[in-house]
Amino acid sequence: MITRSLAALAASALLAALALPTLAQSALVQFTGQLLDVRGGYVYFTSGDAFKIAPAPKLADYDTGGPTTLTPGPRVFARAVFDPATKSVIELDLSRKRLAEDASYATVAAPLTATKATTVRAPEIVGQFATGKEVAVAFVVTVPPTTPINAQIYISTDASGWNPQAIKLDRIDGLRYRAVRRFASGTKFAYRVTRGSWNTVEVGDDGLQAPPHEYFTKEVDAQEARVTVFAWQDNRANTPVQAAQPGAVPTPFNPNPFPPGGIAPPSRATPPGGFPTPRPGLPNVPH
């Protein structure tokens, strides 16, 4: 008798457990994601899945389980609770904060979605897997050998509004400069190397304006981006910087040889009512 009673009790408990979907099929009765819309009898998630929704689903606060002031709509996160029998969503637990997925797509959403699966491959869709983890990236730039030993070298990127001094590099030897930055994997940008202005941007190996370098952060622990600068726009011939330009002065030092006489006014003085072009600087004075 006791045995029968215990067996009946166990059977009842089992039936009761099976009747409660969260106990019997916990992996199959709820799906968490971000909402796109609730329309036409379906709730749409950003995964592209559309689940049939009951006529009057329960709306609850995700954290408390109690009533919520949120309404299901775009950008709202939700946990959809399904009725396994009807495969309809009977409850939406809503939240503004980003919710972690609590089940895999394949086991939960795929069997229940009303959205038909696509069957035709789309070769135009290509991509590279990236989780967004931070990756240490070393930029190593080899400069022309005649670049002054104390020259400032920068990287300008489209991500920084092409600021010609966006990323400053440090000279590490006679030819190379280096800087380390951290970027999320998947980060992609274009960049050019400059000496601090657009008048001193790098040119290509044939001395002509070259397209910017393309950079992409891979899904790795550390990465190195190497660039060789062949010449600068303001010095395509790679002449040494101390070179006195022949057109500038008759000698590198003495602008007024063959005394006596010479030119009394100093050259490059400001003319009355205007100033010569290009605008004079203050040579030999640190600035």
Binding site: Q34, L36, D37, R39, G40, Y42, Y44, T46, G73, P74, R75, R98, T113, T115, T118, A122, E124, P144, P145, I149, N150, S156, S160, G161, R171, I172, G174, L175, V180, R181, W198, D206, L208, Q209, P212, R236, A237, P240, Q242, A243, A244, P246, A248, P250, F253, N254, F258, I263, A264, P265, S267, P271, P272, G273, G274, P276, T277, P278, P283, N284
Partner: protein, 599 residues
């Protein structure tokens, strides 16, 4: 007899018009030859909503409440929310989506546009749910079987982000720029209203290559733009003009570009600059720079004096080598002589006047620079870059002037040859590496003298991985020699041994006869324990002959550079740097304390 200056004064009209005509012709030439960009679908998106936000650090535009997006073909897509990643060039409209256009009227849950793939993805809310793909802007042939990107309908995560711009509308030109209407720009903690604000986000850097001279401070307010143009006001500050407004206009195509600038816009001493770049073939390019410097009180008043300068560069690339022709032209007194100045030969008439300005100096050169040549055999570790060129200078500052006042031709011809012989970093032992450079250039002038430039640089560098340290020491000898043969002492007469300048009295000048040497030691250490912090120190010591004279020539014998960079947040890095000159020209620390914020 009428002197040249008077003739120049009478030719004011021609001089005034010449730079303008050249500028217009250049603009027309640049604009007419360029092939218009091929139209892609959509060429633009006009967004209207109650709230339009722009997140600058993510390059993401969002819009909420009553969103209405008009594509360039006239199709209107409305919904509850909109988001567009400008860098990835994809957008999403979600919530009560309606597509209305030629031959299409559909209701759905979400619409995602991928212009780069020439595809649009749609989740209809009528009938059975499906994943619909449209090709291009063909709305009449929906495809429900084609694979879609897995994240086609995903919203970007903007948790914790603050919008940089708030507006009521925006016009997005994919891959190029976005123009916000009735924008409020986040500045110093508040949203400052502006009628319009343009953000350029494309990979074409030529939108940013302005025609301004260097400044200490520059904040741009781009207020108008299109796929190929950008107009901006600038608030600038420099050491000559203080703080002022400036204006620049850009025209940009794939490779070609024009930048025009007026700087300052609000001060008397003004520059009108125009830079034009044209790529004629993959191996030939040209660059034109025109500048008019004007003394112009008021913004639109007639200038009282003006000078012009033009530079043309034509460059050709051939098998890794480069040929460049460069020409400079100078024009003074475009508006005639200043009032009261009649005799241009009387350089004492106006203090600071230089009689050479009555001429129109010019110079030109044709230069050749070889690509990198790796020597063979046992010398494979050596690289060579030869170069050479020819040129002339006519009445150029400091050159044409002296022949007019003294014996000598007004035109000077020259040719030069030189090259660099150098090594790539050669590993010695451990992490220690050696790099060497020997550079020499000789220039022969028609006025019989020659200049010889030499540079020898030896560098030892190393890395201490555990200490996160990179370091190098360099020894460099530069020689600059000017040989006049028998005229050496005439060209370089004995100087007084002591020179007095506003910076003090300096000795050691008597022995100089045109041959100068600079020996320098430079040491550097870069300490970067993390990717968020870097400290760089560089110390240089120079021994120059002749000894440097502040204000005349030479460089500070001691120079110490300190530079620290640290990341304040994920988006903001601070760079603090300064130099110390050890009391050269009364300077201890460099006048400017460099602090730069960058992403």
């Amino acid at each position: 007899m009428q002197d040249r200056a008077s003739r120049g004064a009478q030719g004011v009209t021609l001089h005034m018009r010449f730079p303008v005509v050249v500028a217009l012709l250049a603009t027309v030439a640049f604009a007419s030859v360029v092939i218009p960009a091929a139209a892609t679908a959509p060429a633009s998106l006009d967004i209207r909503a109650k709230n339009v936000d722009f997140f600058y650090n993510r390059f993401i535009v969002t819009a909420d409440t009553g969103v209405r997006v008009r594509l360039s073909d006239g199709t209107v897509i409305s919904g509850e929310t909109f988001t567009m990643d400008l860098k990835l060039n994809r957008y999403l409209i979600a919530g009560d989506v309606h597509i209305d256009g030629a031959g299409v009227h559909q209701v759905g849950a979400a619409f995602a546009g991928y212009p780069d793939l020439d595809r649009s993805y749609f989740l209809p809310a009528e009938g059975t749910p499906a994943r619909v793909t449209f090709r291009g802007m063909d709305w009449t042939h929906p495809d429900t079987t084609r694979e879609q990107p897995g994240d086609a309908f995903h919203f970007p995560d903007l948790t914790g982000e603050r919008s940089y711009i708030r507006a009521v509308g925006a016009r997005v030109v994919p891959r190029t720029e976005v123009m916000f209407d009735q924008a409020r720009v986040y500045t110093a903690g508040v949203y400052v209203p502006t009628p319009r604000y343009v953000v350029v986000f494309g990979t074409n850097s030529h939108f940013y290559e302005n025609a301004f001279p260097g400044g200490r401070f520059d904040v741009a307010l781009p207020f108008n733009g299109s796929a190929h143009s950008l107009s901006a006001l600038h608030l600038r500050n420099d050491q000559y003009n203080g703080s002022y407004l400036a204006f620049d206009q850009h025209f940009v195509w794939d490779q070609d570009w024009i930048a025009f600038g007026v700087d300052p816009l609000t001060q008397e001493q003004r520059e009108y600059n125009l830079i034009g770049y044209k790529r004629w073939t993959p191996h030939l390019e040209s660059r034109l720079f025109l500048q008019e410097s004007a003394a112009q009180p008021g913004i639109i008043n007639r200038p009282i004096n003006a000078a012009g300068y033009g530079q043309l560069q034509v460059s050709g690339g051939w098998h890794g080598s480069n040929f460049t022709y460069s020409q400079d032209n100078y024009y003074q007194y475009l508006l005639g002589l200043p009032k009261g100045l009649t005799d241009l030969n009387d350089f004492n008439y106006v203090i600071g006047y230089d009689p050479r300005w009555k001429e129109h100096p010019m110079d030109a050169s044709l230069s050749y620079a070889s690509g990198d040549i790796m020597l063979g055999g046992r010398l494979a570790w050596l690289h060579l870059r030869p170069r050479g060129g020819i040129g002339f200078a006519h009445d150029v500052y400091g050159e044409g002037g002296f022949p007019n006042e003294q014996p000598g031709p007004s035109t000077l011809y020259y040719h030069y040859a030189g090259g660099s012989l150098y090594t790539q970093p050669v590993r010695l032992f451990g992490s220690l590496q050696f790099t060497g450079l020997y550079d020499r250039q000789r220039t022969w002038f028609s006025v019989p003298h020659e200049t010889d430039l030499g540079d020898v640089r030896l560098t030892l560098s190393g890395t201490r991985q555990l200490q996160h340290l990179n370091y190098f020491v360099a020894y460099e000898v530069k020689t600059t020699d000017d040989y006049w043969g028998a005229q050496q002492l005439a060209a370089y007469p004995a100087n007084a041994d002591i020179v007095t300048t506003p910076y003090g009295t300096f000795s050691g000048q008597a022995a100089f006869r045109g041959l100068a040497t600079s020996r320098g030691y430079t040491g550097s250490a870069v300490y970067s324990p993390t990717a968020s912090f870097t400290f760089n120190t560089i110390l240089s010591r120079f021994y120059d002959t002749p000894a440097p004279v502040p204000g005349l020539f030479g460089q500070p014998p001691w120079q110490l550079t300190l530079d620290a960079r640290f990341r304040l947040s994920r988006q903001v890095q601070v760079d603090v740097g300064r130099q110390y000159f050890f009391n050269f020209a009364n300077e201890l620390w460099s006048p400017q304390f460099l602090i730069q914020f960058s992403p």
